[in-house]
């Protein structure tokens, strides 16, 4: 493939940044992070604190940033009033200060240019970079239409670019958090209960008697409130059942660990449904009153006995029965957790449907100890002109497909950026805010190919992530500790608001996302969509509409409101209408049937590894978020690289010792750019290997993360697309080991 877009290195030295950046470095100075012998710990009373909510992951815990007299950020602590964290941040939130202090940060705007026949980045002023970006976006709009521009976003800053894009005339706003993560779950939940699960998940773990985790590894994912409530559940002696081919941390704390054969979860779920129905252990009153299609479901699972599932899942029939009965005994205070990253095998919407059905049979949806009825504060928005109606959207690139996808598909936009004969228009420009696409989307080379076809690409980030190397313009965003963002309104048991405000001035020549988007809008003649000079005007106006103010929120950080929507749970016998075609909880889905998908989930076998190959399972480490924190010095201190987990039996076959370096090669012959250490452990099955996602960075500008560990995203070349909503199933890849250096040259 010819590439019009050479990968450009961003130098770690950042020479020009000093010249451009010094003007904004007033009172905070350059971080004197650790002073040493003479520096005793500082008492909290000598520090000034500013409210924030965390941006290191999507849980967005509210906290306080503590700053000393010299303007150094000393530490970040949780806000005790916040239900996301209850005053206790996770390691990433505590280590968020490392994001601010990172000397590898993007320091000034960069523009791609040709110099001596070579593509390089040139440091630019904000004015020039903004002007140039506006000009290029206008050119794309003139030649191809504004709808050929797409936004990929993750995190708080994306909202502002979303407004900008809609004003510009495009609705192609995608987040990898849908098609690469929780999209199948939301689609399956909508088909069943008429609403999405949402974030944070309204799991009432605090009061549950039984928590069932299916490949969901709470404790390794640090979804803070859930980790805290699971810990309380352990204290209370609640039953935890974990289904996982790997002894996850959660599995090790469970009463039952079901070490399932990978890719067979739907068979187990159907067998559980069989036991609940045929042993008459389901919640009859709830099922009769609120659900649709019970008889069809009963007929469907007639032969799906635990004995049938045993041959598929390797879980003994007695264990399947015993766990189903424990679930029934706890009902309705039971949670079969919907999971979060659920894009595994391409039938993920169906698997999530099966999970939703079990919750419905046990009456846990809307019950204490099951799922609570979440509520949020609805903030008003200042009046802006209506958005223009785009001539086409991302859906037009996939006629008749993925009708049930409720959000745009990142992977779909990526696919539709590579021109094909049967598509009359491809995407021509990308705006990428806070998401490192090459390590976020599966099949890294495919993502790189797509980017090489673009006319224009602008990246907004705090760090020189891989994706910045493919951009035409890079805008350095300041970190969350240095900026205001929208008020956090995420739902919980009670509605809450949380404020993020800067604790220090932006370091270097960096700017907040709202400012960048607003400046771009003005240069594009769309300034009226950002009706404020400073974001604080909008925040104060919004807060005053709900009886608070910016001044109040700056003092308290988090504010609790009274519930408006009634009780936290359904009342016994309450008349309810669900937002589904039948108005009931659909065990048999009308929506799925209308789109010609199985109205009740079925088990389909998936390919298995050939001899010498092992299924590649990937997951999370509690001290890192995706691929975005590997360079954070505080978190790097905790975990510098990933390892490939190998069962001792497999290790013996390969003569491995702990710590041996190997390269991984997948079923398509793709070899990892970097070697990875072998970790021999009984925690993993012999037909699978496991690694934590987010390592193996190929960008030298990430001076700590570069070359540490292997990158699973480049090994995930086989993608099993979920036909229902376009999710990218990524657990169907198999790897083998190379013990000799394949001599593959790593990027940059």
């Amino acid at each position: 493939m010819t590439t019009r877009r050479d990968f450009i290195k961003i130098s770690t030295a950042g020479t020009g940044a000093a010249a451009l950046g010094l003007s904004v470095l007033n009172w905070n100075g350059v971080g004197k992070a650790f002073a040493g012998k003479d520096s005793e710990p500082v008492s909290d009373t000598e520090l000034k604190r500013y409210p924030t909510y965390c941006e290191v992951c999507f849980w967005k815990c509210a906290g306080w940033t503590y700053v000393d007299k010299e303007g150094n950020i000393k530490k970040i602590l949780g806000n005790e009033e916040d239900p996301h964290c209850n005053g206790r941040l996770c390691p990433r939130g505590t280590g968020g200060v490392g994001m601010y202090n990172d000397e590898d940060r993007l320091k000034t705007p960069l523009i791609r240019e040709e110099k001596d026949g070579k593509q390089v980045f040139r440091e630019a002023s904000w004015e020039e970079a903004l002007e140039y970006t506006a000009k290029r976006l206008k050119e794309v709009a003139k030649e191809h239409g504004p709808e050929c521009v797409a936004l990929f976003n993750h995190g708080s800053g994306g909202k502002y670019f979303g407004t900008l894009l809609k004003a510009f005339g495009s609705e192609n706003i995608a987040a990898p958090s849908f098609a690469q993560c929780r999209g199948p779950r939301e689609t399956g939940w909508i088909a069943t209960f008429g609403e999405a699960v949402g974030s944070p998940e309204p799991t009432d773990i605090r009061d549950t008697k039984c928590l069932v985790l299916i490949g969901s590894h709470i404790g390794e994912n640090m979804h803070n409130g859930q980790v805290q409530e699971m810990s309380e559940a352990i204290d209370r002696g609640a039953t935890i059942i974990t289904v996982d081919p790997r002894l996850s941390t959660a599995a090790s704390k469970s009463k039952y660990w079901l070490p399932i054969k990978p890719a067979t979860d739907i068979a187990l779920l159907l067998a559980w449904i069989h036991v609940l129905i045929y042993e008459e252990r389901y919640n009859k009153e709830y099922v009769e009153k609120y659900t649709f299609g019970f008889d069809l479901l009963k007929e469907h699972v007639k032969d799906m006995t635990p004995e049938w599932a045993y041959g598929i899942t390797t879980i003994e029939p007695s264990v399947i029965r015993k766990t189903a009965r424990e679930m029934a005994d706890a009902a309705p205070a039971i949670i079969v957790h919907p999971g979060r990253h659920v894009t595994w095998y391409g039938d993920d919407t169906q698997r999530t449907r099966a999970i939703a059905i079990i919750n419905a049979l046990l009456g846990s949806w809307g019950s204490r100890g099951g799922f609570y009825l979440k509520e949020k504060v609805h903030l008003a928005h200042q009046k802006i002109p209506p958005f223009p109606k785009p001539k086409r959207t991302w859906r037009d690139a996939f006629p008749g497909q993925y009708e049930l996808a409720s959000l745009a598909l990142s992977s779909g936009i990526c696919d539709a950026t590579i021109p094909t004969d049967d598509r009359d228009c491809s995407f021509k420009a990308w705006i990428v805010s806070g998401t490192n696409l090459p390590l976020t989307l599966p099949n890294m080379q495919h993502t790189i190919d797509a980017m090489s076809h673009l006319d224009f690409m602008v990246v907004i980030d705090t760090m020189p992530m891989e994706v910045t190397g493919y951009a035409d313009v890079v805008f350095p965003e300041c970190t969350y500790l240095e900026r205001y963002d929208n008020i956090r309104t995420s739902p919980h048991r009670e509605p809450y608001l949380a404020l993020r405000m800067p604790a220090v001035e932006p370091k270097y020549n960096t700017k907040p996302a709202w400012w960048i988007a607003k400046q771009l809008a003005e240069k594009l003649g769309l300034g009226e969509y950002f009706p404020y000079d400073d974001i604080t005007e909008q925040l104060d106006w919004q807060l005053k509409q709900v009886g608070s103010s910016l001044e109040e929120m700056q003092r308290i950080g988090v504010k609790k409101f009274d519930r408006q929507d009634g009780a936290l749970y359904f009342k016994k016998g309450e008349e309810l209408e669900f937002n589904t075609p039948s108005g009931k909880i659909e065990l048999w889905s009308n929506e799925m049937a209308a789109e010609n998908f199985d109205p009740i989930p079925v088990y389909t076998p998936h390919p298995e590894p050939e001899e010498g190959f092992y299924r590649l399972i990937y997951g999370r480490a509690p001290m890192h978020t995706f691929s975005r924190t590997a360079n954070n010095h505080n978190l790097w201190d905790l975990k510098k690289e990933n390892a490939v987990w190998v069962n001792p039996k497999v290790a013996k076959l390969w003569n491995f010792n702990n710590g041996d370096l190997v390269w991984l090669k997948n079923q398509d012959g793709i070899v990892s750019s970097f070697p990875i250490k072998v970790r021999i452990t009984e925690r993993i099955r012999w037909d699978s290997v496991y690694m934590v996602h987010g390592f193996g960075h190929s960008k030298k500008a990430l001076s700590r993360a570069y070359g540490h560990g292997a990158n699973d995203s480049e090994l995930i070349t086989k993608v099993m697309i979920d036909p229902v909503m376009g999710g990218t199933g990524m657990r169907g890849n198999f790897v083998t080991f190379l013990q000799e250096d394949p001599g593959k040259e790593a990027e940059s």
Partner: protein, 177 residues
């Protein structure tokens, strides 16, 4: 008064939050730590168990580090907390060798450093930074002489063990099992 800590291995998920919180609270330089996570795996798939625990200085009653310190830099203060006076420490490392828990490290500024139970916080009536931050609330701290302290209550109701009891150090970290 006798300060001690209990660590609930049934709840610890090994996230390392205690390590980062200690780092930012106590200005621990990058690449060093005063507390850390240990993971022990036992058994054969699928009959496997894991024990996760957050470890640090055991603030031993019978402290080999204090006994072997040639300058008196390592000493015990009220409440049994083992402290190092940086100005008195010559960095000889005898204490590092003597500690059965590997709880001490050589600070790049030339002295030996370790956990202080966040004495500066405890003196102000606050909890150690690691205890305050732990998302799973698996760390209990307090005065063993006070039967109502968090640590006393935790030890009354649970089975516990100490590490390397054979070393005879009378350690004051208790691991709930």
């Amino acid at each position: 008064m006798r300060y001690a800590m209990a660590i609930d291995t049934k709840k610890c998920v090994g996230c390392g939050d205690c390590v980062v919180a200690c780092q930012t609270e106590n200005n621990v330089p990058h690449g060093y730590c005063r507390d850390w996570i240990v993971e022990n795996v036992a058994g054969t798939y699928p009959n496997v168990e894991i024990e996760l625990r957050s470890e640090r200085c055991n603030h031993c009653d019978n402290s080999p580090c204090v006994r072997c310190c040639p300058t008196g830099a390592s000493h015990i203060v009220e409440g049994g907390i083992v402290m190092v006076t940086a100005d008195k420490c010559i960095g000889c490392g005898a204490c590092i060798q003597s500690c059965p828990y590997d709880a001490r490290y050589s600070h790049p500024d030339g002295y030996v450093d370790k956990c202080t139970f966040c004495k500066h916080r405890v003196d102000n009536g606050q909890l150690p930074a690691c205890v305050e931050v732990c998302p799973t609330k698996c760390l209990y701290f307090g005065d063993l002489d006070d039967p109502n302290s968090d640590v006393s209550k935790a030890l009354q109701h649970r089975k516990w063990k100490v590490l390397a009891p054979e070393a005879g150090t009378k350690p004051q970290l208790y691991f709930l099992t």
